[in-house]
Amino acid sequence: MKKFGKLLAATALMSATVMGSAYAKTLVYCSEGSPEGFDVAPYTAGTTFDASSKPLYNRLVEFKRGTSQVIPGLAESWEVSEDGLEYTFNLRKGVKFHTTSFFTPSRDFNADDVLFSFDRQRNADHPWYEYVPGISWEYFNGMSMPDLISDIVKVDDYTVKFILTRPEAPMVANLAMDFASIVSAEYADQLTASGTQEMLNQEPVGTGPFSFVAYQKDAVIRYAAHGDYWGGKQPIDDLVFAITTDAAVRGQKLKAGECHIAPYPNPADIEGLKADSNLVMMEQQGLNVGYLAYNTQVAPFDNAKVRKALNMAINKQAILDAVFQGAGSAAKNPIPPTMWSYNDAIVDDAYDPAASKAMLEAEGVSGLEMEVWAMPVQRPYNPNARRMAELIQADFAEVGVNVQIVSYEWGEYLARSKELDRKGAVLLGWTGDNGDPDNFLAVLLGCDGVGGSNRAQWCNEEFDALTLKAKTVSDAAERTKLYEEAQVVFKREAPWATIAHSTVFMPMSKKVKGYVMDPLGGHWFDGVDLDQ
C-alpha cells in the first residue's frame, strides 16, 4: 500500500513536470553506452563520467571549457606552500546542492563535503570506503593518490588544506579530474541513517549544472537544469541521454531528429553526416597518441639505432589513410600537439626504407624476426590495430624484417605487454586524463613505469631526471622547457614509433548552440543552448 502511495505521488510529480515543461528546452544526447553508476569515484570509464561527473558534480578546480587549463571550481582560489607540500584551497560560499525528490539539503557546500569526498577513497577505516560490496577507488589509486596525499585538513568551514608527501606540480590538475568530484556529506549521512548507502550510486546529489531526475537502465537518463547553480542556470531546461550503443543507429537517430548530438560516429558515416544540411560536424584533434613500443630491454631493440631504423621503415601516411581514414594526424612526439609544452621544433624520422635497411645492416641486424602485438579492441587512438599491424608488417618486410602479428584478449594483452622479457613490439596508446604532460611522459616513459605502464621498458636517466624535475617545479615556463627537452631525448632514443593522434568527430543538429569539444574527450552540456 505504501509502495502504491509512493507510486501515485511519483506519477503526480512526473505528470506535473511533463506538463510544466511542455515548452521546455530539452537537449537529447544519444550516448554510446550505459553508465556503470552515478557515484563517479569508483569508476574509470569515460561513458560513466559523461553521465555522472560532468552534468551532476563539480570539483575544487575545473578545466576551462574546451581547454585543459585549470580554473577555479568549488574552490575560489588556492595557495601552494614554498616547499610545494601544502595546497590550501579557499572554498566558494553559497554553493547549493541539488534539491531532488529524494533529498533536500539543509546547508550549503562546505569543507565537510570535501573531506568526505576524499577520505572515503583514501581511508580504509572510513564507513564509506566499501559502502557496497566490491566497490573500489581505482582512479584514485591509479593516480597514486594514497602515496601522494599525507593528510587533508579542515582549517575552517571554507578552507581545506591538502598535505602531500612530496612536491607534485600536476596536483591541481589532478583535482580537476572526475574522481575528485565533490559529493554531499549531508546526503551521505541521510543515506546512512536510512540504511540505504547504495543509493549514493543510484540517486546522486551534487552541485553541478544539472540535477538527476531518473534513470531507466540501459535506456534513458533524465536530468533537469539546477535552478540554484552557482554558475547560473543553464540555457536548456532538461537534458536527456538516450543510450544508443550502435554507431550506425546513432547516426540514423541524428538524421531523423531523434537526438541533437551523437558522439563517436562510424568513420564510414562521416561523409554522409557532413552532407546532411540539418547537421554540423565539429572536429578536434584528440588528446591522445597511438604508438608502437619496442621492448628496449631485449636485443636488438636495446639499440637505439635499430629502433630508429625501424621507425624510418614505417609509412605513417599509409596508416593514416587506411586505418584512420583521414581522421588522424601523424605523431612525432609522445604528446599531442594540443598539449602545452609540445615541442614542434622536433623533426620526425623520415619514411625512407632504403636508409632504414642500410642502418639495420650497419648495426649488424639481418634476417630479424619479431612480433608485433595488435590490440583486440578499437580505441580512439587506434581504430583498427590489426590493420595497422598488417601495414607495419608489410613495411618491415621491405627492410628485411619478418613480422609475426600476435594478439590476446584485451585484459591479457594489457597484462602480458607489461612483462619485462616480452618479445617484440606492442601497439598501444593513451588518452590524457588531466591535460598535464606529466600524465603522458612520466606515466608512459618514466623509470617508475617499467614493468607497468611503460610498455617500452625504457628507463633513460636523462629523460627521467627531466620529467622528475618538471614535477617539482611550479613555474609553467620552466616546466615547459624541461618537457621540451625531454621530448628531444625521447626522439633521439626512439623507444616508440609514434604513429598517430586521432581526430575526434562530433556530429550535431544545427539547432545546438554553444557546444564546445573537450580536448580531454569528455562531453559537457553546461552552456549549451538550443534554437527552438
Partner: protein, 335 residues
C-alpha cells in the same frame, strides 16, 4: 497427468545443477580477467590486484567459490555485479520485462503470420503462393539479424520516416514503470499518444526478432499440414462431404498443430538468443544487451547469474510446452 508433471519437474533438478556448473565454469574459461578489465589501460599495481582478488573472493579455490555461489543461489542471492555494484537479480528483473515484451510480440507476430502462411502453402502446394512463401521463409531463416535490422531502420525510419529509429518510447513521454511492459505502462499513464508511441517503437524490433521464428513456424506448419492432409481420416472427412474450411480447420489443423506447438516452444531459446542482437541494434534495454556488456566487462557474477536465470526461464517454458503437449496429445502423457 500429475505423475507426468512430477516426472518432468524431476528432470529439471539435475539440469539446473548442470547449468550452474556450466555458467560458473564458462565465464572462468573465457580468457581475460575482471580486475584487469575494470582497470583498463591505466592498469593496476600488483599489490592492489591482490587486494581486489581477496575483495571479490577470487583468491579462494575454485570449488570453494562454486560452493559459496551455489549456497548463495539457493538463498536467492545471485551476487553483485562487479561493474555496477548492484545485485544481479535486481538488474535482471529491471531489464527482463523489456525482453519479455519484445519476445512476446515477436512470437505473436510469427504465429499470426506463420501458421496461416504454412496452411495456405500446404493446401495450395506447388502454387506460386507456396513457392514464394517458402522462398521468403528460407531467406528469412538465413537472414543475418544485424544486417536485417539496420536495413529496416535505414528504409522505414531513415528514408520513409514511418517508424522511430530505436528505443522503447518517445523521450517526450515520461512516467514511472509499473509493470515494466511499455505497452501496458504507456496505456496506464493516460498520456495522450504514449501508447501509440510505444506501439510504433515495437514494430521494427518485433519484425526483426520475429523473422526467424516466423520462417520456422511457416515451414513446420506446411510440412505438418502436408503430412496430415494425406491421412485417411482427412480423406474420410472429405468423403463425408465436409466443407474445405471444416476439413482443414477442424480435422487437419488440430492434428498438425502438435509438432508446431513444440516448435514454438523451442523458439523461446532462439528468441532469447536473437534478442541479444535485436536489442543491441534497437537500443532496447533488455537482458540481451546487458549480457553482452557483462561478457565484455568479464563481470563474472552478472554473466553467470544471467545465464542461470535465462536457462531457468527456457526450462520453465519447455516444461510448460511439454505439459501443454501432454494435454493436446494424450498418447504422450500416458507413455
Amino acid at each position: 497427468m500429475f505423475k507426468f508433471i512430477i516426472s518432468k519437474l524431476a528432470m529439471i533438478v539435475p539440469t539446473f545443477f548442470g547449468i550452474t556448473i556450466v555458467a560458473f565454469g564458462f565465464v572462468r574459461v573465457l580468457p581475460g580477467d575482471p580486475i584487469l578489465a575494470l582497470a583498463g589501460e591505466r592498469g593496476v599495481k600488483p599489490e592492489r590486484y591482490q587486494e581486489l582478488l581477496v575483495q571479490f573472493g577470487f583468491d579462494k579455490p575454485i570449488w570453494e567459490q562454486y560452493f559459496t555461489y551455489l549456497v548463495n543461489l539457493f538463498q536467492g542471492d545471485f551476487g553483485t555485479s562487479i561493474a555496477t555494484k548492484r545485485p544481479v537479480l535486481d538488474e535482471f528483473l529491471t531489464l527482463f520485462p523489456a525482453t519479455i515484451e519484445l519476445a512476446l510480440c515477436a512470437i505473436i507476430f510469427a504465429v499470426l503470420l506463420g501458421i496461416p502462411a504454412g496452411i495456405i502453402s500446404a493446401v495450395k502446394r506447388g502454387s506460386w503462393f507456396d513457392q514464394t512463401t517458402m522462398g521468403i521463409a528460407l531467406a528469412g531463416y538465413s537472414m543475418p539479424i544485424f544486417w536485417w535490422g539496420l536495413l529496416l531502420i535505414i528504409f522505414f525510419s531513415g528514408t520513409l520516416g514511418w517508424t522511430p529509429v530505436s528505443g522503447r518510447i518517445s523521450l517526450l513521454y515520461y512516467f514511472p514503470q509499473v509493470t515494466g511492459f511499455m505497452l501496458i505502462d504507456s496505456f496506464l499513464s493516460g498520456q495522450q499518444g504514449a501508447f501509440k508511441s510505444a506501439f510504433m517503437h515495437l514494430i521494427l524490433p518485433t519484425i526483426v526478432l520475429g523473422t526467424i521464428p516466423l520462417a520456422v513456424i511457416a515451414r513446420q506448419t506446411r510440412s505438418a499440414m502436408l503430412e496430415v492432409l494425406g491421412e485417411d481420416y482427412v480423406r474420410t472427412a472429405r468423403a463425408k462431404g465436409l466443407g474445405q474450411m471444416q476439413v482443414i480447420g477442424v480435422h487437419a489443423l488440430r492434428n498438425a498443430l502438435i509438432p508446431v506447438i513444440t516448435t514454438i516452444g523451442l523458439q523461446v531459446g532462439v528468441l532469447l538468443a536473437g534478442a541479444i542482437l535485436t536489442e543491441t541494434i534497437f537500443s532496447w534495454p533488455g537482458i540481451g544487451k546487458w549480457m553482452v556488456d557483462s561478457i565484455f566487462r568479464r563481470d563474472y557474477p552478472s554473466v553467470q547469474g544471467g545465464l542461470v536465470l535465462i536457462a531457468l526461464i527456457v526450462m520453465v517454458v519447455n516444461l510448460t510446452v511439454d505439459v501443454l503437449y501432454g494435454f493436446i496429445n494424450p498418447r504422450i502423457r500416458h507413455q
